[in-house]
Protein backbone atom coordinates (compact mmCIF):
# COMPACT_ATOMS: atom_id res chain seq x y z
CA UNK A 1 0.00 0.00 0.00
CA UNK A 2 2.78 2.36 1.01
CA UNK A 3 4.68 1.37 -2.12
CA UNK A 4 1.66 2.14 -4.29
CA UNK A 5 1.22 5.54 -2.64
CA UNK A 6 4.90 6.32 -3.19
CA UNK A 7 4.64 5.25 -6.83
CA UNK A 8 1.56 7.43 -7.28
CA UNK A 9 3.42 10.36 -5.74
CA UNK A 10 6.43 9.80 -7.99
CA UNK A 11 4.30 9.57 -11.13
CA UNK A 12 2.48 12.76 -10.17
CA UNK A 13 5.81 14.49 -9.52
CA UNK A 14 7.15 13.27 -12.89
CA UNK A 15 4.21 14.66 -14.86
CA UNK A 16 4.23 17.92 -12.89
CA UNK A 17 7.91 18.31 -13.71
CA UNK A 18 7.30 17.61 -17.42
CA UNK A 19 4.43 20.13 -17.43
CA UNK A 20 6.47 22.83 -15.72
CA UNK A 21 9.44 22.21 -18.01
CA UNK A 22 7.18 22.53 -21.08
CA UNK A 23 5.74 25.75 -19.70
CA UNK A 24 9.29 27.03 -19.12
CA UNK A 25 10.21 26.11 -22.72
CA UNK A 26 7.09 27.92 -23.96
CA UNK A 27 8.09 31.03 -22.05
CA UNK A 28 11.56 30.80 -23.62
CA UNK A 29 10.08 30.91 -27.14
CA UNK A 30 7.78 33.81 -26.24
CA UNK A 31 10.56 35.88 -24.65
CA UNK A 32 13.13 34.93 -27.30
CA UNK A 33 11.13 36.64 -30.03
CA UNK A 34 10.47 39.84 -28.10
CA UNK A 35 12.92 42.78 -28.02
CA UNK A 36 15.11 43.99 -26.38
CA UNK A 37 17.72 41.39 -27.38
CA UNK A 38 20.67 40.77 -25.09
CA UNK A 39 23.38 40.26 -27.75
CA UNK A 40 26.29 41.18 -25.50
CA UNK A 41 25.25 38.72 -22.82
CA UNK A 42 24.57 36.07 -25.49
CA UNK A 43 28.14 36.41 -26.81
CA UNK A 44 29.51 36.23 -23.28
CA UNK A 45 27.50 33.08 -22.61
CA UNK A 46 28.60 31.50 -25.93
CA UNK A 47 32.20 32.09 -24.89
CA UNK A 48 31.52 30.71 -21.41
CA UNK A 49 29.77 27.58 -22.71
CA UNK A 50 32.40 26.89 -25.37
CA UNK A 51 35.34 27.69 -23.17
CA UNK A 52 33.98 25.78 -20.20
CA UNK A 53 33.70 22.49 -22.10
CA UNK A 54 36.13 22.58 -25.02
CA UNK A 55 39.14 20.97 -23.33
CA UNK A 56 37.02 18.27 -21.72
CA UNK A 57 35.30 17.50 -25.04
CA UNK A 58 38.64 17.34 -26.87
CA UNK A 59 40.29 15.05 -24.32
CA UNK A 60 37.26 12.75 -24.13
CA UNK A 61 36.88 12.69 -27.92
CA UNK A 62 40.53 11.78 -28.40
CA UNK A 63 40.30 8.92 -25.87
CA UNK A 64 37.03 7.63 -27.34
CA UNK A 65 38.53 7.52 -30.85
CA UNK A 66 41.63 5.81 -29.54
CA UNK A 67 39.78 3.20 -27.48
CA UNK A 68 37.13 2.48 -30.08
CA UNK A 69 39.81 1.69 -32.65
CA UNK A 70 41.94 -0.37 -30.28
CA UNK A 71 38.92 -2.43 -29.16
CA UNK A 72 37.54 -3.00 -32.66
CA UNK A 73 40.84 -3.85 -34.33
CA UNK A 74 41.21 -7.51 -33.19
CA UNK A 75 37.66 -8.39 -34.24
CA UNK A 76 37.99 -6.71 -37.63
CA UNK A 77 41.34 -8.48 -38.20
CA UNK A 78 39.65 -11.78 -37.34
CA UNK A 79 37.10 -11.19 -40.11
CA UNK A 80 39.71 -9.79 -42.52
CA UNK A 81 37.90 -6.45 -42.50
CA UNK A 82 40.48 -4.19 -40.89
CA UNK A 83 40.45 -1.98 -44.01
CA UNK A 84 36.88 -1.06 -43.06
CA UNK A 85 38.10 0.50 -39.80
CA UNK A 86 37.97 4.17 -40.97
CA UNK A 87 34.47 3.68 -42.38
CA UNK A 88 33.17 2.02 -39.22
CA UNK A 89 34.79 4.43 -36.79
CA UNK A 90 33.95 7.50 -38.92
CA UNK A 91 30.26 6.65 -39.25
CA UNK A 92 29.80 5.59 -35.63
CA UNK A 93 31.56 8.69 -34.30
CA UNK A 94 29.85 11.21 -36.56
CA UNK A 95 26.36 9.70 -36.36
CA UNK A 96 26.13 8.66 -32.74
CA UNK A 97 29.10 8.52 -30.42
CA UNK A 98 30.42 12.05 -31.03
CA UNK A 99 27.13 13.94 -30.49
CA UNK A 100 25.96 11.79 -27.57
CA UNK A 101 29.26 11.76 -25.69
CA UNK A 102 29.72 15.52 -26.21
CA UNK A 103 26.14 16.15 -25.06
CA UNK A 104 26.64 14.02 -21.95
CA UNK A 105 29.85 15.85 -21.07
CA UNK A 106 28.08 19.17 -21.56
CA UNK A 107 25.13 17.95 -19.48
CA UNK A 108 27.58 17.32 -16.65
CA UNK A 109 29.59 20.45 -17.11
CA UNK A 110 27.20 23.09 -18.43
CA UNK A 111 23.79 22.05 -17.07
CA UNK A 112 25.20 21.71 -13.56
CA UNK A 113 27.09 25.01 -13.90
CA UNK A 114 24.00 26.88 -15.07
CA UNK A 115 21.83 25.18 -12.44
CA UNK A 116 24.22 26.14 -9.64
CA UNK A 117 24.80 29.68 -10.95
CA UNK A 118 21.12 30.56 -11.36
CA UNK A 119 20.25 28.71 -8.15
CA UNK A 120 22.70 30.77 -6.16
CA UNK A 121 21.49 33.96 -7.84
CA UNK A 122 17.95 33.03 -6.86
CA UNK A 123 18.89 32.27 -3.25
CA UNK A 124 20.87 35.49 -2.83
CA UNK A 125 18.03 37.57 -4.36
CA UNK A 126 20.16 38.64 -7.34
CA UNK A 127 17.35 37.63 -9.71
CA UNK A 128 14.90 39.77 -7.72
CA UNK A 129 17.39 42.66 -7.79
CA UNK A 130 17.56 42.34 -11.56
CA UNK A 131 13.79 42.35 -11.81
CA UNK A 132 13.36 45.51 -9.71
CA UNK A 133 16.07 47.28 -11.68
CA UNK A 134 13.86 47.03 -14.77
CA UNK A 135 15.66 44.14 -16.49
CA UNK A 136 13.71 41.05 -17.39
CA UNK A 137 15.83 38.34 -15.68
CA UNK A 138 14.28 35.60 -17.78
CA UNK A 139 15.50 37.26 -20.98
CA UNK A 140 18.86 38.25 -19.57
CA UNK A 141 19.71 35.01 -17.79
CA UNK A 142 17.62 32.22 -19.28
CA UNK A 143 17.13 33.10 -22.95
CA UNK A 144 20.82 33.92 -23.45
CA UNK A 145 22.00 30.72 -21.77
CA UNK A 146 19.63 28.43 -23.67
CA UNK A 147 20.57 30.09 -26.97
CA UNK A 148 24.26 29.83 -26.14
CA UNK A 149 24.09 26.09 -25.42
CA UNK A 150 21.93 25.51 -28.52
CA UNK A 151 24.42 27.30 -30.75
CA UNK A 152 27.63 26.07 -29.17
CA UNK A 153 26.90 22.36 -28.77
CA UNK A 154 27.04 21.57 -32.53
CA UNK A 155 30.39 23.37 -32.68
CA UNK A 156 31.70 21.35 -29.75
CA UNK A 157 30.43 18.18 -31.45
CA UNK A 158 32.41 19.06 -34.62
CA UNK A 159 35.59 19.60 -32.60
CA UNK A 160 34.96 16.43 -30.57
CA UNK A 161 34.36 14.36 -33.74
CA UNK A 162 37.52 15.65 -35.42
CA UNK A 163 39.70 14.89 -32.41
CA UNK A 164 38.10 11.44 -31.99
CA UNK A 165 38.86 10.67 -35.63
CA UNK A 166 42.40 11.90 -35.09
CA UNK A 167 42.75 9.53 -32.12
CA UNK A 168 41.51 6.67 -34.25
CA UNK A 169 43.84 7.64 -37.12
CA UNK A 170 46.75 7.70 -34.70
CA UNK A 171 46.12 4.08 -33.67
CA UNK A 172 45.76 3.00 -37.29
CA UNK A 173 48.95 4.90 -38.14
CA UNK A 174 50.94 3.28 -35.35
CA UNK A 175 49.50 -0.24 -35.53
CA UNK A 176 48.38 -0.62 -39.13
CA UNK A 177 50.84 1.65 -40.90
CA UNK A 178 47.99 3.65 -42.47
CA UNK A 179 48.85 7.26 -43.33
CA UNK A 180 46.72 10.07 -41.84
CA UNK A 181 45.82 11.26 -45.34
CA UNK A 182 44.57 7.85 -46.44
CA UNK A 183 42.68 7.38 -43.19
CA UNK A 184 40.85 10.71 -43.41
CA UNK A 185 40.17 10.30 -47.15
CA UNK A 186 38.53 6.94 -46.45
CA UNK A 187 36.51 8.41 -43.56
CA UNK A 188 35.16 11.32 -45.60
CA UNK A 189 34.41 9.05 -48.57
CA UNK A 190 32.34 6.85 -46.31
CA UNK A 191 30.32 9.74 -44.89
CA UNK A 192 27.25 11.09 -46.67
CA UNK A 193 24.86 13.98 -45.98
CA UNK A 194 22.56 11.38 -44.48
CA UNK A 195 25.13 10.92 -41.73
CA UNK A 196 26.05 14.57 -41.21
CA UNK A 197 22.68 16.37 -41.34
CA UNK A 198 20.75 14.36 -38.69
CA UNK A 199 23.79 14.38 -36.40
CA UNK A 200 24.10 18.17 -36.66
CA UNK A 201 20.38 18.76 -36.24
CA UNK A 202 20.17 16.58 -33.16
CA UNK A 203 23.19 18.39 -31.68
CA UNK A 204 21.16 21.62 -31.71
CA UNK A 205 18.39 19.83 -29.82
CA UNK A 206 20.88 18.38 -27.35
CA UNK A 207 22.19 21.89 -26.70
CA UNK A 208 18.66 23.18 -26.28
CA UNK A 209 17.64 20.58 -23.68
CA UNK A 210 20.89 20.99 -21.75
CA UNK A 211 20.42 24.77 -21.51
CA UNK A 212 16.70 24.43 -20.83
CA UNK A 213 17.07 21.94 -17.99
CA UNK A 214 20.01 23.81 -16.41
CA UNK A 215 18.10 27.08 -16.43
CA UNK A 216 14.82 25.49 -15.31
CA UNK A 217 16.42 23.79 -12.33
CA UNK A 218 18.43 26.86 -11.31
CA UNK A 219 15.60 29.34 -11.82
CA UNK A 220 13.23 27.27 -9.70
CA UNK A 221 15.67 26.22 -7.01
CA UNK A 222 14.23 26.41 -3.52
CA UNK A 223 15.63 28.72 -0.89
CA UNK A 224 18.86 27.84 0.84
CA UNK A 225 22.28 26.60 -0.15
CA UNK A 226 21.09 22.99 -0.10
CA UNK A 227 18.68 23.96 -2.87
CA UNK A 228 21.56 25.13 -5.05
CA UNK A 229 23.28 21.74 -4.75
CA UNK A 230 20.04 19.92 -5.52
CA UNK A 231 19.43 22.17 -8.55
CA UNK A 232 22.90 21.42 -9.95
CA UNK A 233 22.59 17.71 -9.29
CA UNK A 234 19.10 17.21 -10.70
CA UNK A 235 20.00 19.35 -13.72
CA UNK A 236 22.73 16.85 -14.67
CA UNK A 237 20.48 13.82 -14.17
CA UNK A 238 17.53 15.29 -16.05
CA UNK A 239 19.63 16.74 -18.89
CA UNK A 240 21.49 13.43 -19.40
CA UNK A 241 18.22 11.52 -19.47
CA UNK A 242 16.68 13.97 -21.93
CA UNK A 243 19.75 13.71 -24.19
CA UNK A 244 18.97 9.99 -24.63
CA UNK A 245 15.26 10.68 -25.15
CA UNK A 246 16.05 13.30 -27.81
CA UNK A 247 18.59 10.92 -29.39
CA UNK A 248 15.98 8.17 -29.62
CA UNK A 249 13.44 10.54 -31.20
CA UNK A 250 16.05 11.94 -33.61
CA UNK A 251 17.14 8.48 -34.77
CA UNK A 252 13.52 7.37 -35.10
CA UNK A 253 12.55 10.45 -37.13
CA UNK A 254 15.62 10.35 -39.38
CA UNK A 255 14.96 6.66 -40.04
CA UNK A 256 11.42 7.43 -41.18
CA UNK A 257 12.72 10.35 -43.25
CA UNK A 258 15.30 8.23 -45.08
CA UNK A 259 12.88 5.39 -45.72
CA UNK A 260 10.58 7.72 -47.67
Amino acid sequence: MELALQAKKNIKHFFTEIGELSHFAGRFFREFLKPPFEFKELLRQCYQVGNRSLVLVLVTGFIIGLVLTLQSRPTLIQFGAVSMMPNMVGISIVREIGPVITALICAGRIASGIGAELGSMKVTEQIDAMEVSGTNPFKYLVVTRILATTLMLPLLVVFGDLVALYGSALVENLKGDVSFQLYFNTVFDALSYGDLVPATVKSFFFGFVIGLVGCYKGYHSKKGTAGVGIAANTAVVMASLLVFVVDFIAVFVSDIFYEL
Binding site: E125, A129, M130, V132
Partner: protein
Protein backbone atom coordinates in the same frame (compact mmCIF):
# COMPACT_ATOMS: atom_id res chain seq x y z
CA UNK B 1 -9.65 54.02 26.89
CA UNK B 2 -8.58 50.71 25.41
CA UNK B 3 -5.60 50.44 23.10
CA UNK B 4 -7.66 49.93 19.91
CA UNK B 5 -9.63 53.12 20.49
CA UNK B 6 -6.46 55.02 21.28
CA UNK B 7 -4.83 53.70 18.09
CA UNK B 8 -7.84 54.58 15.94
CA UNK B 9 -7.84 58.11 17.29
CA UNK B 10 -4.14 58.48 16.62
CA UNK B 11 -4.49 57.22 13.06
CA UNK B 12 -7.42 59.59 12.49
CA UNK B 13 -5.35 62.47 13.87
CA UNK B 14 -2.39 61.56 11.70
CA UNK B 15 -4.62 61.26 8.67
CA UNK B 16 -6.05 64.71 9.23
CA UNK B 17 -2.54 66.11 9.70
CA UNK B 18 -1.41 64.34 6.56
CA UNK B 19 -4.16 65.72 4.38
CA UNK B 20 -1.71 68.08 2.78
CA UNK B 21 0.93 65.40 2.26
CA UNK B 22 0.97 63.30 -0.87
CA UNK B 23 0.57 59.56 -0.40
CA UNK B 24 3.30 57.71 -2.28
CA UNK B 25 2.46 54.17 -1.13
CA UNK B 26 -1.02 53.04 -0.23
CA UNK B 27 -1.65 49.49 0.93
CA UNK B 28 -5.16 48.40 1.77
CA UNK B 29 -6.36 45.10 3.16
CA UNK B 30 -3.33 43.19 1.90
CA UNK B 31 -3.61 39.42 2.29
CA UNK B 32 -1.10 36.71 1.50
CA UNK B 33 -0.96 33.07 2.53
CA UNK B 34 1.46 30.23 1.90
CA UNK B 35 -0.67 27.12 2.28
CA UNK B 36 -2.14 27.26 5.78
CA UNK B 37 0.28 29.94 6.88
CA UNK B 38 -1.59 33.25 6.68
CA UNK B 39 1.25 35.76 6.61
CA UNK B 40 -0.69 38.95 5.88
CA UNK B 41 -4.24 39.19 7.14
CA UNK B 42 -5.48 42.54 5.94
CA UNK B 43 -2.47 44.78 6.34
CA UNK B 44 -2.97 48.52 5.79
CA UNK B 45 -0.27 51.16 5.46
CA UNK B 46 0.38 54.55 3.94
CA UNK B 47 3.71 56.18 3.20
CA UNK B 48 3.73 59.93 2.68
CA UNK B 49 6.08 61.93 0.49
CA UNK B 50 9.45 62.61 2.17
CA UNK B 51 8.58 60.46 5.17
CA UNK B 52 10.71 57.79 6.87
CA UNK B 53 8.38 54.99 7.87
CA UNK B 54 9.63 51.95 9.75
CA UNK B 55 7.70 48.68 9.69
CA UNK B 56 8.73 46.43 12.53
CA UNK B 57 7.82 42.83 13.06
CA UNK B 58 9.24 39.55 14.27
CA UNK B 59 11.11 37.26 11.88
CA UNK B 60 8.61 35.52 9.62
CA UNK B 61 5.90 38.06 10.33
CA UNK B 62 5.53 38.94 6.64
CA UNK B 63 7.54 42.16 6.40
CA UNK B 64 9.60 41.01 3.43
CA UNK B 65 6.52 39.50 1.75
CA UNK B 66 4.75 42.86 2.09
CA UNK B 67 7.68 44.80 0.61
CA UNK B 68 7.99 42.31 -2.28
CA UNK B 69 4.30 42.68 -3.06
CA UNK B 70 4.88 46.43 -3.28
CA UNK B 71 7.26 46.12 -6.24
CA UNK B 72 5.46 43.27 -7.96
CA UNK B 73 8.01 40.59 -7.04
CA UNK B 74 5.21 38.69 -5.35
CA UNK B 75 1.48 38.67 -6.00
CA UNK B 76 -0.79 39.16 -2.98
CA UNK B 77 -3.86 36.94 -2.65
CA UNK B 78 -6.00 40.05 -2.37
CA UNK B 79 -5.79 43.71 -1.47
CA UNK B 80 -5.03 47.04 -3.05
CA UNK B 81 -1.49 48.31 -3.70
CA UNK B 82 -0.91 51.78 -5.07
CA UNK B 83 2.58 53.18 -5.60
CA UNK B 84 3.11 56.75 -6.83
CA UNK B 85 -0.52 56.91 -7.91
CA UNK B 86 -0.48 53.67 -9.89
CA UNK B 87 -2.21 50.46 -8.92
CA UNK B 88 0.44 47.72 -9.23
CA UNK B 89 -2.00 44.96 -10.19
CA UNK B 90 -3.19 46.78 -13.30
CA UNK B 91 0.24 47.57 -14.76
CA UNK B 92 1.75 45.71 -17.69
CA UNK B 93 5.41 44.68 -17.57
CA UNK B 94 6.71 47.77 -19.38
CA UNK B 95 4.80 50.26 -17.22
CA UNK B 96 5.83 48.37 -14.10
CA UNK B 97 9.50 48.57 -15.17
CA UNK B 98 9.18 52.33 -15.66
CA UNK B 99 7.55 52.67 -12.24
CA UNK B 100 10.29 50.52 -10.70
CA UNK B 101 12.89 53.05 -11.81
CA UNK B 102 11.29 55.41 -9.27
CA UNK B 103 11.60 52.81 -6.52
CA UNK B 104 14.96 51.83 -5.05
CA UNK B 105 15.17 48.47 -3.28
CA UNK B 106 17.95 47.61 -0.83
CA UNK B 107 17.94 43.85 -0.37
CA UNK B 108 18.64 42.14 2.93
CA UNK B 109 21.73 40.33 1.65
CA UNK B 110 22.83 43.22 -0.60
CA UNK B 111 22.19 41.05 -3.73
CA UNK B 112 25.19 42.32 -5.66
CA UNK B 113 25.75 40.48 -8.95
CA UNK B 114 28.64 38.08 -8.25
CA UNK B 115 29.94 37.96 -11.80
CA UNK B 116 30.18 41.75 -12.20
CA UNK B 117 32.56 44.36 -10.84
CA UNK B 118 31.27 47.18 -8.63
CA UNK B 119 31.22 49.46 -11.68
CA UNK B 120 29.14 46.95 -13.69
CA UNK B 121 26.82 46.42 -10.74
CA UNK B 122 26.15 50.14 -10.63
CA UNK B 123 25.79 50.47 -14.38
CA UNK B 124 23.33 47.59 -14.60
CA UNK B 125 20.18 49.48 -13.51
CA UNK B 126 21.06 52.23 -16.00
CA UNK B 127 20.82 49.88 -19.00
CA UNK B 128 17.03 49.93 -19.18
CA UNK B 129 16.60 53.49 -18.05
CA UNK B 130 19.01 55.24 -20.34
CA UNK B 131 16.10 56.97 -22.06
CA UNK B 132 15.83 59.08 -18.94
CA UNK B 133 19.29 60.42 -19.58
CA UNK B 134 19.59 59.86 -23.33
CA UNK B 135 21.06 56.79 -25.01
CA UNK B 136 24.55 58.26 -25.35
CA UNK B 137 24.69 59.63 -21.83
CA UNK B 138 27.98 59.03 -20.05
CA UNK B 139 27.19 56.93 -16.98
CA UNK B 140 30.67 57.27 -15.44
CA UNK B 141 29.99 60.56 -13.55
CA UNK B 142 26.79 59.09 -12.12
CA UNK B 143 28.60 55.94 -10.98
CA UNK B 144 31.36 58.00 -9.37
CA UNK B 145 28.86 60.32 -7.72
CA UNK B 146 26.96 57.53 -5.97
CA UNK B 147 30.17 55.78 -5.00
CA UNK B 148 31.45 58.99 -3.43
CA UNK B 149 28.14 59.34 -1.60
CA UNK B 150 28.76 56.00 0.07
CA UNK B 151 32.49 56.64 0.50
CA UNK B 152 33.70 53.81 -1.70
CA UNK B 153 34.98 55.46 -4.87
CA UNK B 154 38.20 53.44 -4.56
CA UNK B 155 36.31 50.15 -4.82
CA UNK B 156 35.00 50.78 -8.33
CA UNK B 157 36.88 47.94 -10.02
CA UNK B 158 36.62 45.38 -7.23
CA UNK B 159 34.51 42.24 -7.42
CA UNK B 160 31.79 41.68 -4.77
CA UNK B 161 33.77 38.76 -3.30
CA UNK B 162 36.57 41.22 -2.44
CA UNK B 163 34.25 43.40 -0.34
CA UNK B 164 33.36 43.11 3.35
CA UNK B 165 29.72 42.82 4.46
CA UNK B 166 29.50 46.53 5.27
CA UNK B 167 31.09 47.52 1.95
CA UNK B 168 28.66 45.28 0.08
CA UNK B 169 25.73 46.96 1.82
CA UNK B 170 27.11 50.42 0.90
CA UNK B 171 27.58 49.41 -2.75
CA UNK B 172 24.06 47.98 -2.76
CA UNK B 173 22.84 51.30 -1.38
CA UNK B 174 24.75 53.12 -4.11
CA UNK B 175 23.07 50.89 -6.71
CA UNK B 176 19.71 51.64 -5.12
CA UNK B 177 20.12 55.41 -5.44
CA UNK B 178 21.78 55.53 -8.86
CA UNK B 179 18.44 56.06 -10.63
CA UNK B 180 17.53 58.83 -8.17
CA UNK B 181 14.38 57.04 -6.99
CA UNK B 182 11.48 58.82 -5.32
CA UNK B 183 10.99 55.98 -2.83
CA UNK B 184 13.59 53.71 -1.25
CA UNK B 185 12.56 50.38 0.25
CA UNK B 186 15.02 49.00 2.77
CA UNK B 187 14.68 45.30 3.62
CA UNK B 188 16.50 44.76 6.94
CA UNK B 189 19.29 47.26 6.11
CA UNK B 190 21.37 46.43 9.19
CA UNK B 191 20.88 42.67 9.45
CA UNK B 192 24.08 40.63 9.63
CA UNK B 193 26.24 43.68 10.34
CA UNK B 194 28.22 44.50 13.47
CA UNK B 195 26.94 47.43 15.63
CA UNK B 196 29.53 49.91 14.32
CA UNK B 197 28.87 49.12 10.65
CA UNK B 198 25.12 49.19 11.37
CA UNK B 199 25.48 52.72 12.72
CA UNK B 200 27.42 53.73 9.62
CA UNK B 201 24.71 52.33 7.36
CA UNK B 202 22.01 54.12 9.36
CA UNK B 203 23.92 57.40 9.08
CA UNK B 204 24.30 56.80 5.36
CA UNK B 205 20.55 56.20 5.01
CA UNK B 206 19.84 59.46 6.78
CA UNK B 207 22.29 61.45 4.69
CA UNK B 208 20.89 59.98 1.47
CA UNK B 209 17.36 60.81 2.55
CA UNK B 210 18.45 64.36 3.29
CA UNK B 211 20.35 64.78 0.03
CA UNK B 212 17.81 63.25 -2.36
CA UNK B 213 14.61 63.98 -0.42
CA UNK B 214 13.33 60.44 -0.90
CA UNK B 215 10.50 58.75 0.94
CA UNK B 216 11.76 55.68 2.79
CA UNK B 217 10.07 52.50 3.90
CA UNK B 218 12.34 50.60 6.25
CA UNK B 219 11.63 47.01 7.18
CA UNK B 220 13.54 46.01 10.27
CA UNK B 221 13.52 44.26 13.61
CA UNK B 222 16.46 46.36 14.80
CA UNK B 223 15.05 48.70 17.48
CA UNK B 224 18.12 50.98 17.41
CA UNK B 225 17.79 51.43 13.67
CA UNK B 226 14.07 52.18 14.07
CA UNK B 227 14.75 54.72 16.85
CA UNK B 228 17.25 56.67 14.77
CA UNK B 229 15.62 56.68 11.33
CA UNK B 230 11.88 56.54 11.93
CA UNK B 231 9.49 59.46 11.84
CA UNK B 232 6.60 57.06 12.17
CA UNK B 233 6.41 53.34 12.89
CA UNK B 234 4.02 50.52 12.12
CA UNK B 235 4.13 47.29 14.09
CA UNK B 236 3.25 44.22 12.04
CA UNK B 237 1.79 41.57 14.33
CA UNK B 238 -0.31 38.56 13.26
CA UNK B 239 -0.41 39.87 9.69
CA UNK B 240 -2.02 43.20 10.54
CA UNK B 241 -0.81 46.71 11.37
CA UNK B 242 -1.23 46.17 15.09
CA UNK B 243 0.02 49.58 16.22
CA UNK B 244 1.16 52.85 14.68
CA UNK B 245 2.86 55.93 16.05
CA UNK B 246 6.19 57.59 16.67
CA UNK B 247 9.04 55.70 18.32
CA UNK B 248 8.44 57.54 21.61
CA UNK B 249 4.72 56.76 21.58
CA UNK B 250 5.15 53.09 20.84
CA UNK B 251 8.11 52.51 23.12
CA UNK B 252 6.10 53.89 26.06
CA UNK B 253 3.03 51.77 25.29
CA UNK B 254 1.67 49.40 27.91
CA UNK B 255 0.28 46.93 25.42
CA UNK B 256 2.16 43.63 25.98
CA UNK B 257 2.50 42.89 22.24
CA UNK B 258 3.96 46.35 21.60
CA UNK B 259 6.13 46.25 24.71
CA UNK B 260 7.69 43.00 23.52
CA UNK B 261 9.40 44.85 20.67
CA UNK B 262 11.13 47.36 22.90
CA UNK B 263 12.20 45.12 25.80
CA UNK B 264 15.99 44.98 26.10
Amino acid sequence: MNYDMELKEKIAAQNSQSVQKKVVIDLRDLRKSFGDNHVLNGFNMRLYEGENLVVMGKSGSGKSVMIKCLVGLMQPDSGYIEVLGKEIKTLDRETLDILRSDIGFLFQGSALYDSMTVRENLEFPLRRHKERMGQNADTEPLVLEVLENVGLAHAIDLMPEELSGGMKRRIALARTIILKPKIILYDEPTSGLDPITSKEIIELMRSIQKKYGTSSLIITHDVDCARVVSERMVLLVDGINYAEGTYTELSSSNDPKVEAFFKK
